[in-house]
Symmetry: C2
Subunit: 171 residues, 2 copies
DNA sequence: AGAAATAGTACGAATCCCTGACTACCCGCT
DNA sequence: AGCGGGTAGTCAGGGATTCGTACTATTTCT
């Protein structure tokens, strides 16, 4: 409760790298989301579980799809899906199209969580809009979207992963 | 090497939440940085170590300061600093002002890493500027800076942490 | 001097995520 | 038919990150 002097962080106004700023904003959003979820009685979901849950398509997804979309290995995805199954947020059903595969589908409990998370996100985005103004918020979203398409799209990833990485320091 | 169909991620053009976009951009930057560091012979630093290293002030920082600035517990900070000490990036020296405390200072090897990381960041930011245009990139930086000051500043944190969190879902 | 706060450490545990190795199944080709 | 390469998913094991609780040493306030 008692406070230490406020030298903690870099001085306001100084320039932290975009990298650190992105991390900070993401972390702020994440902690708001999971704080609210915890308050709402869904304290058993973790951020990692959330990141795989988020990429499950409405009609169900295969584990391999989930792993690729969430950028983790199949094992990690399987581990996290196991937890989500045990906690009742998703179910595994056989994939009628392929006996090797199973579809992971969102269970009722999972559906119940979605609007709660969406509401928090909407709330935080509203706060941010109040801080930035509608136009800058819109531009922020667009800019991030452009970067996402350039860096986090299957073709973009292939581009980076296969490059021998010779002249990374282009400066 | 062989490729799975490209259904992986959300369709380009659809709107992922700002949260996911922030995460994606941060992750892209981070993997570039640590990829390059690894190539440059500094493969023993990890992202977590980087996040504490980043907040060490030029004249040295106390562990508690580092912990607060990096938003981790003292134990975590101490653990990561231990690793950085073992790897030779920082040193611990007694704090002349307080016999309980020690100052963590950047060692020569640590100083050597800084320009490498900075170059990568500059390179990635240049790529992003090429994608977005100078103006949008500048606006992105400003917007993130505003959000940072509002959410990741000591006073801002106190504001959020102490709120009883009743009406989180303001939507 | 004595009480309260602060700097840091020790230990134990949970979470997250990866590599390597394996089984079960699908599909195209002979 | 049926074989072989590729895909879906699991098992086993390990490393990294982070936290909570509990403790010692030192400073600071009264």
């Amino acid at each position: 409760m008692t406070q230490t002097p406020d030298i903690t962080t870099t001085q306001p106004g100084s320039q932290a790298s975009v990298s650190a700023l992105l991390f900070s904003a993401y972390r702020a959003m994440e902690s708001r989301i999971f704080g609210a979820l915890s308050q709402a009685g869904y304290g058993d979901v973790t951020p990692a579980q959330g990141r795989v849950f988020r990429v499950i398509r409405p009609d169900g997804s295969r584990l391999t799809e989930i792993a690729q979309a969430a950028r983790v290995t199949k094992q990690t995805a399987g581990f996290l899906v196991d937890q989500l199954v045990r906690a009742g947020y998703v179910v595994r059903v056989p994939d009628p199209a392929d006996a090797r595969a199973r579809l992971i589908k969102i269970a009722p409990k999972g559906s119940a969580v979605i609007p709660i998370g969406a509401a928090v996100v909407a709330g935080v985005e509203a706060e941010w809009t109040a801080l930035l103004g509608k136009e800058r918020m819109q531009m922020l979203r667009e800019a991030l979207q452009v970067l996402w398409e350039a860096t986090d799209t299957p073709s973009a990833l292939r581009r980076h992963q296969e490059a021998p990485v010779d002249e990374v320091v282009v400066a």
